[in-house]
């Protein structure tokens, strides 16, 4: 979520697609109902926020919605695209926001085009686009040409308007199955949310993410929010409702094939040095006033990660042990694991707190894949469909299954401490309440002891490239029984010259003098104040603990990054630094500094400084992207029938 659960109470309109929060997140849903029952919220003169639920299935969420639209599965690009078209045709966009806070004024090269359902640059043989054809038109300084009047025929705004002019209410009806009249009723409400004193949130869940076209489905919603000026604002944003207790935290910490902790890209074959890696991975600045904070500091974050992992073995002489990091041959995502097993290329599999056999599109195939493994480790408090697959599956003959299976019983959530990060990015620490049951062990103790035993084998017998194993830091009091507190300190990171915990990622260095296991968590465990995820100053005293009254509760737990509660919040204030809606401030320039939420901006940078950074400090443009050449399947989301 760009925002957080409690923040949904600040919305005038709540647009829900592909989610059923009333049933799946019932306690989070109280904040939707608070908005609905709050007479100061809502379109027009208020009377309560409007909930609009667009889903193939009529659920309990639909039952309490103001409007329910039945949409044909997987057609949300057409729906959001139709809404964008309605906004643009009726000139309802938040004009100042679009001009100054999005890339609407960036001019695109004339090699961009869209014909017959395809963007230019398509190679039918490779079935890939050459995204270079969609680049911005740049000057010799590398900066994009802009036209702030938005009149240039090749500025993003003009291209956007043209692209979505095809998504008329009639076309929306044909593709989505939503009757034109119903769609227009919603479009009218949504269109009003382009007013600076109104704000809408978009909420979605696996109904969007689980499509093969998911990235573009979500992107089209985010673009609608940019057009309406709702990104970065309390009561606004794009809010993914995540499923499990710590799915957000484990994505941040990168148990995902394509990323390293803190959303650093996984290095690719051919990248020989950290410089090669950064060049291929980091965004480039396309406007002189773009800070491009992530791109500019990419190397610092990567080197600090390598220092956290490989300690003294990572130094300038070996390019901080960049070659220790494995480089995948290609897509190594979930299905490819089982595909490799079916082709007998996969020998061993760890399933730790998840089962393979009962998720995914084809359980029989997964069971066959598990049968092909040499060994399978299930680390779980309970027997699972995977731990028992060799005798409890349908029509299985255990004698014919040659997989060696280890069932290692783990402790569960209340038998250990540690933090869970909720969907709204709030990192909340929990206590160990009871001791482990029977012989069950903590997952991290199993991981650590197994590692120590593998390392001992390499020490004794040697083997393939033992370096990363030999040099992996396990600087814990007991390396086979690390405490989660010690790991939390390492994730935050420290200054290696002083030994002190870091307070901000702005101080991370690329010369090996800082270490941080995950740059977006710097500030969570700091010198003198300890673990901020343990903070508990909540609604027992709202006057003291929620000083802005916006529900940020800055001293309850900790929120990444830097305890910021609403991402991109510079965009919640106008060019002079005043909130677009004074009743719902995110941050505000008080003449000397930004006040309110933790600013997503230099805390003392005046909006009147001619060199003031553009509002979206993390990307190359410095503005929200209505057009992007970073998407593999097109710079604008286009409706294609998903295979599902």
């Amino acid at each position: 979520m760009t925002n957080h659960w409690r923040d949904i109470k600040n919305a005038d309109v709540i647009l829900i697609n592909g989610a059923n929060p009333a049933e799946a997140h019932p306690v989070g849903f109280q904040w939707f109902m608070k908005a609905k029952l709050d007479p100061t919220k809502g379109p027009g003169k208020g009377g309560g926020a409007k909930i609009i639920h667009t889903d193939p299935r009529f659920s309990r969420t639909s039952a309490v919605s103001d409007i329910y639209l039945r949409i044909r599965t997987g057609t949300d690009v057409a729906y959001y695209g139709g809404l964008m078209n309605y906004v643009l045709q009726n000139n309802l966009q938040h004009a100042d926001y679009v001009t100054h806070y999005t890339n609407a004024s960036w001019i695109v090269k004339d090699s961009y085009g869209f014909n017959d359902g395809l963007f230019t640059g398509y190679d039918p043989k490779a079935r890939k686009y050459d995204a270079k054809l969609w680049a911005y038109e740049t000057g010799p300084d590398g900066f994009a040409h802009r036209d702030n009047t938005l009149q240039h025929p090749r500025c993003v705004f003009a291209l956007l308007k043209k692209h979505y002019s095809r998504y008329t209410p009639e076309v929306v009806q044909t593709i989505t199955g939503i009757p034109k009249e119903d769609f227009l009723k919603v479009a009218q409400i949504v269109g009003e949310m382009g007013r600076p004193d109104k704000v809408m949130t978009i909420v979605y869940a696996v109904g969007l993410t689980h499509h093969t076209t998911g990235s573009q489905l979500i992107r089209s919603g985010a673009m609608l929010q940019l057009l309406l000026g709702n990104m970065g604002r309390p009561g606004g944003g794009m809010n993914a409702e995540r499923g499990h207790a710590n799915i957000q935290g484990n994505t941040d910490n990168a148990i995902s094939w394509e990323i390293l902790p803190g959303y650093l890209k996984v290095p690719q074959p051919g990248q020989k040095t950290t410089d090669d890696y950064v060049k291929a991975s980091a965004a480039k600045k396309t406007d002189p006033n773009s800070w491009n904070f992530f791109g500019t500091n990419y190397k610092k974050f990567m080197v600090s990660l390598l220092k956290a992992w490989y300690g003294d073995a990572a130094d300038k002489n070996n390019d901080f042990a960049f070659n220790y990091l494995p480089k995948p041959a290609g897509n190594s995502s979930w299905l490819s694991i089982y595909d490799a097993a079916l082709r007998k290329k996969m020998e061993g599999l760890f399933l730790s707190g998840m089962t393979a056999a009962s998720i995914g599109p084809d359980s029989n195939q997964i069971l066959q894949a598990l049968s092909n493994l040499k060994w399978l480790v299930v680390m779980d408090p309970f027997p699972t469909t995977s731990s028992e697959f060799w005798h409890a599956g349908p029509d299985v003959d255990p004698k014919s299954i040659q997989t060696e299976v280890f069932m290692l019983p783990c402790t569960h959530w209340i038998e250990k401490d540690g933090s869970f990060v909720n969907s709204g990015r709030w990192m909340q620490w929990k206590d160990q309440v009871v001791p482990p049951l029977g012989e069950s062990r903590h997952d991290h103790w199993i991981t650590a002891e197994l590692f120590s035993r593998v390392k001992a084998l390499y020490q004794k017998d040697g083997g393939k490239f033992p370096d990363p194993i030999m040099h992996l830091t396990m600087n814990y009091k007991d390396p086979i029984k690390p405490t989660l507190d010690e790991i939390a300190r390492e994730v935050n990171g420290k200054d290696l010259t002083t030994g002190k915990q870091m307070a901000t990622f702005a101080k991370l260095m690329d010369d090996g003098t800082t270490a941080s296991g995950n740059w977006i968590y710097v500030g969570s465990y700091i010198e003198g104040k300890g673990n901020l995820a343990k903070r508990r100053h909540g609604v027992q005293d709202p006057a003291k603990n929620d000083p802005t009254g916006m529900g940020f509760y800055p001293n309850w737990a900790w929120s990444w990054p830097l305890n910021r509660r609403v991402l991109y919040n510079r965009a919640s204030a106008d060019l002079d630094g005043n909130p677009w809606d004074p009743k719902r401030p995110g941050i505000k320039w008080d003449g000397a500094k930004w006040v309110g939420d933790v600013p997503d901006y230099p805390p003392k940078m005046s909006p009147h400084d001619p060199k003031a950074w553009l509002p979206f400090i993390m990307n190359g443009e410095g503005t929200g992207r209505l057009f992007s050449d970073t998407m593999l399947d097109g710079p604008f989301p286009e409706h294609y029938e998903p295979v599902e």
Binding site: A245, S256, A340, S352, L408, K430, V454, K464
Partner: protein
């Protein structure tokens, strides 16, 4: 606020709420009795803080435990934490029964091992299980390790092992797993976010 404890507050709220019920036909104050019963349940208990293990709303929990004469720790009650800005003490039916996960009798309590082709689980010690497993990891790693790919790029990866981690891991367990597995050369690293 500093002088009013949470349980004081609940007690007062309970009594105030009972006003309408004082003339109960049962002849006694039902709300008061319920509150006394609740207090008996957690009397002398230790209060700890937790977070709901189920969905990503992240409702705060308070867990009450008591040390038994035999030294074991018993969970008496798990309830929503009224101080939390996320849930303000509320829990959904699933979260409200988190105790059933905490003291479930369906747990596996000791390591189990199933050799190739066997029809039954065998009991195995942690020492033996981890020893065997460490050998398997090393054998597979050495057998499937790719130092340099066909194009001559240094890739240093282990193609024959995959790790799928749980979204029920705490942040810190997840971080350690990613750190260790990447350093063993794994590139197949996935979790519930994908599925």
């Amino acid at each position: 606020m500093a002088t009013v404890t949470r349980s004081d507050f609940l007690r007062v709220a309970g009594i105030a709420g009972a006003g309408v019920l004082i003339a109960s036909e049962l002849g006694f104050d039902l709300a008061k009795a319920t509150e006394i019963k609740r207090q008996l349940r957690i009397a002398g208990a230790t209060e700890s803080h937790s977070v709901c293990p189920y969905c990503a709303v992240g409702c705060s929990l308070i867990a009450y435990t008591r040390k038994e004469p035999d030294g074991s720790v018993k969970i008496l009650q798990i309830e929503g934490d009224p101080d939390s800005p996320v849930n303000e003490g509320r829990l959904c039916p699933k979260g409200a029964t988190a105790m059933q996960l905490a003291d479930s009798v369906r747990r596996v309590e000791a390591p189990l091992y199933r050799p190739p082709g066997a029809t039954e689980w065998q009991k195995i010690s942690w020492d033996e299980a981890l020893d065997k497993l460490a050998h398997r990891v090393k054998e597979t790693r050495d057998r499937t390790f790719v130092a340099v790919d066909a194009k001559g790029n240094t890739v240093n990866r282990t193609d024959g092992i995959a790790f799928a981690g749980g979204a029920t891991f705490s942040n810190e367990e997840g971080y350690l797993a990613a750190k260790v597995m990447r350093s063993l050369g794994l590139v197949y690293l996935e979790q519930q976010a994908r599925v």
